[in-house]
Symmetry: C4
Subunit: 275 residues, 4 copies
């Protein structure tokens, strides 16, 4: 399988344009968090705003707003998101993401359906992942399951997956027409055109609650600042792992918190910018 490594990242990370304004990088919309899992909204928002987005709007239950603002006063909120979902002009956004900190309930499902009807890239994670047929659309759909979630959303059996991961994910990506980011020790990203890459960064500091929510945010943000969306996905997965590698240099892998990946990203990203 092809590897995505440091050199690829250095060659594909975009420079921030000197004459950019926040509109240049667009507005992302993330639908995440709920009453008993509010923190996932925080984690994905933090990661997104650190990853090149222009502006971030959160589509969240009003009770979750305070948690996000505490960590991220730069965020704004869609008034009455779940009530007004059908009437939102979703094409005004550069990228749409749903799922972190969400149960697979009716509201989540309605969100996903609305998002998929838009013309912009959609990322689905956690509660937004379910078995579904993907309608034909030009803009990419990106799914980010861990193995347990992947088995739930596909017809593939655990045995098939363990036997040949690459084949299983490629088949799924090509047949459904979506991009599959199968998360694990070595995350595999399979594109609908049959292209597959294995990630080469990261370590077991990531085996703790919340790191997946952070990844969703990073992919969302990077889609906003990359010209090539495939590079955006691959670079998000790589830098997410590279932050954990930075952590481990001086701190125990047992001790990292997911939001600290976002704290580490500014310097880690800089180290991957050619100049």
């Amino acid at each position: 399988m092809k590897k995505w490594n440091k050199d690829h990242v250095i060659n594909t990370l975009p420079a921030r344009k000197p004459d950019a304004h926040k509109g240049t990088y667009g507005t992302a919309l993330i639908a995440a968090g709920s009453r008993f899992m509010p923190g996932a909204a925080v984690l994905s928002a933090l990661a997104c705003m650190r990853s090149g987005v222009g502006k971030l709007e959160m589509g969240i239950e009003e009770s979750v707003i305070p948690y996000v603002i505490q960590h991220l006063p730069e965020t704004t909120f869609v008034p009455g998101f779940y009530e007004r979902l059908q009437n939102l002009q979703l094409n005004q956004y550069r990228v749409l993401a749903a799922g972190p900190g969400r149960e697979a309930d009716d509201e989540t499902e309605t969100t996903v359906k609305a998002f998929l009807k838009s013309d912009v890239p959609v990322i689905l994670d956690a509660g937004a992942l379910s078995q579904r047929t993907y309608i034909d659309r030009k803009a990419p759909v990106i799914l980010t399951p861990h193995p347990g979630e992947f088995l739930r959303i596909s017809d593939i059996s655990m045995e098939e997956l363990e036997e040949n991961q690459q084949q299983a994910v490629t088949k799924f990506a090509v047949e459904t027409g979506v991009t599959l980011v199968l998360k694990g020790q070595q995350t595999i990203t399979a594109f609908p055109d049959g292209d597959v890459y294995i990630n080469t960064s990261g370590n077991s500091a990531l085996s703790k609650g919340g790191t997946g929510d952070t990844l969703t945010g990073m992919i969302t943000g990077m889609l906003c600042c990359h010209d090539d969306w495939k590079h955006a996905v691959l670079n998000a997965v790589y830098l997410h792992g590279a932050c954990a590698d930075e952590w481990e240099k001086t701190r125990s892998a047992h001790t990292m918190l997911a939001h600290e990946l976002s704290d580490l990203l500014p310097e880690v990203w800089k180290k991957h910018e050619g100049n």
Copy 2:
């Protein structure tokens, strides 16, 4: 066009007076933030309190108070601000600012009108920017639009603006009698006396939501500690950009959050103090 550069800043930044008490630098009042954009109140407050003010009072909806206190326990609040607006003794303040995180709604408009009737400097941004005639007043009025906002509040067309920015902003400033800070890659500040400066700091790390709210706060605070208000505006714009330049030395421009400008200000400001 005249440039405002590092040397100008070094020559005009005031020393903090050894025998000052908080009254020496006065109290600023900022009216900012709302239910779905509460963070702008936090961002402008943080920036203001880092910029030489004596005390800061926030004129905000009570639901926004918790967000500010979390980041800034040093702030106090005007009880029942919007209800009591007509009865406030606005001349007790050193500087008044309005607009960040506000819609251009009735409450905002009433705030602006009340502020303009006072005898103290007024800064208007975001939701407080609208087409209006400025009544004659001795204290300065400072507007901080980005190009989109500038087109909305003036009769100037996009073509005119693109053709000759300097001429457009100077005309506006002189004719309306206000100071115009036209924000962009190279922010232009035009004073009502015809003086115009182009800023020489900053980079595209600033092209992200919230950086404008931070600038409003910095101008507010600097007006409190400068003797010459024109220097206050020019130095705020410069140092705001200089913080972004400091960021970029070791961190990717894609990753900065607006509130981090305020974190960087203490050391950046120190580097511009003659000693």
Copy 3:
């Protein structure tokens, strides 16, 4: 009495497994905090998530949720914990802890009883400590009283305790079948098999409110990542003290806050990892 020192820690701290996922280290459940002592929930949660756990769920009154999320967006919450206590599948958790920031009231007592009926390790502290007979169970029960609390939960008199601490705690541990962590300047840990160790780290920076809540969280987390639960307890006590020792190198012992132990843990832990 046998000492537990730096060499023991270095020899017994587990490496984080390269192929681990968050399930590998399990989910801990902490029942802590209340209306007028909400911070203990924060302190124990922070410490737990820094100590090798896979995921953390908090069993708390809903009013305490915001406090935890502010510090730790990585945490999730058991919906309606106290109402649904009898119906929770407690064996799904790797470790259960109760008591920090809790009064010794009915709710706390019901929690303890439910926890003790499970098959997983249970840690009891503060309000969860009371005189009780421990039903026979395979999984360890760990009590973490300070001397005042120990006198309250045992029949031992202050005189007996002062005369021969080792004998008093060993007797209690062996007779009741629980592990006793008697906290103090030199914390003594007595296991039900008669094994007793005295801790060799720590200093009086720890003599401040909240440090005990932090210890409870550290034990909880370390039980999740150690194979040998006795090592987990001893290492938690040791590293808790070692963080205070790190503090004191450059900062006054009068000034430490309990949550800062958790801030220091990542680097302190790393220094105790063989490589």
Copy 4:
């Protein structure tokens, strides 16, 4: 006038006793903060817990609790403080402080009266300062007015004060039997026995809202860990200023926030500990 300088501090700061537990340093109670000035509760609490106290309980309106916990999960709260004020066992506390972020209203006045009836040291600041006769008590009363507040609580005129500060404050302290900390560029501390000291640390970074609240907290905490209460007051004033001096070494004096004094205290204190 006698100066209190670095050498005095080094000679009088207590070591933290190796065998101390949190009870050794006692519990402080601070009554501070209100609906529109909640942050003062945070500032005084932070400073107190950094200054050697064993435990801190806050006597605050319930709506202010969240603000304190966000910054300081180590604090607990007196249930129904203002309702239960008359029935509280105030002598259980080591030190009582009132006033920061309080109006001079009925609740504040009732608090002060109850505090003064106790047998423990009392610190009064801000809204708790008013003209009153001090009943005879053995434990010290410490007032911390700035000049404006001092004029309000004494019969001294501005002219008298400006002419001879030392004489004015000494007279007040001796006649009323209280300790007067007259805050300013060079804070003067006058004891009821006629002893007077002028502080030698600090700078105009302190001339900003909230620094006085921080001082109140520092005095409160230091009274808990000093054997000699006069040294506690003098050292608190000195270290408060020394933190501002530390700030100014690398950061502009215009930019400091009051809560950052408490961030700086651990290292500044350490530098004044003989070893």
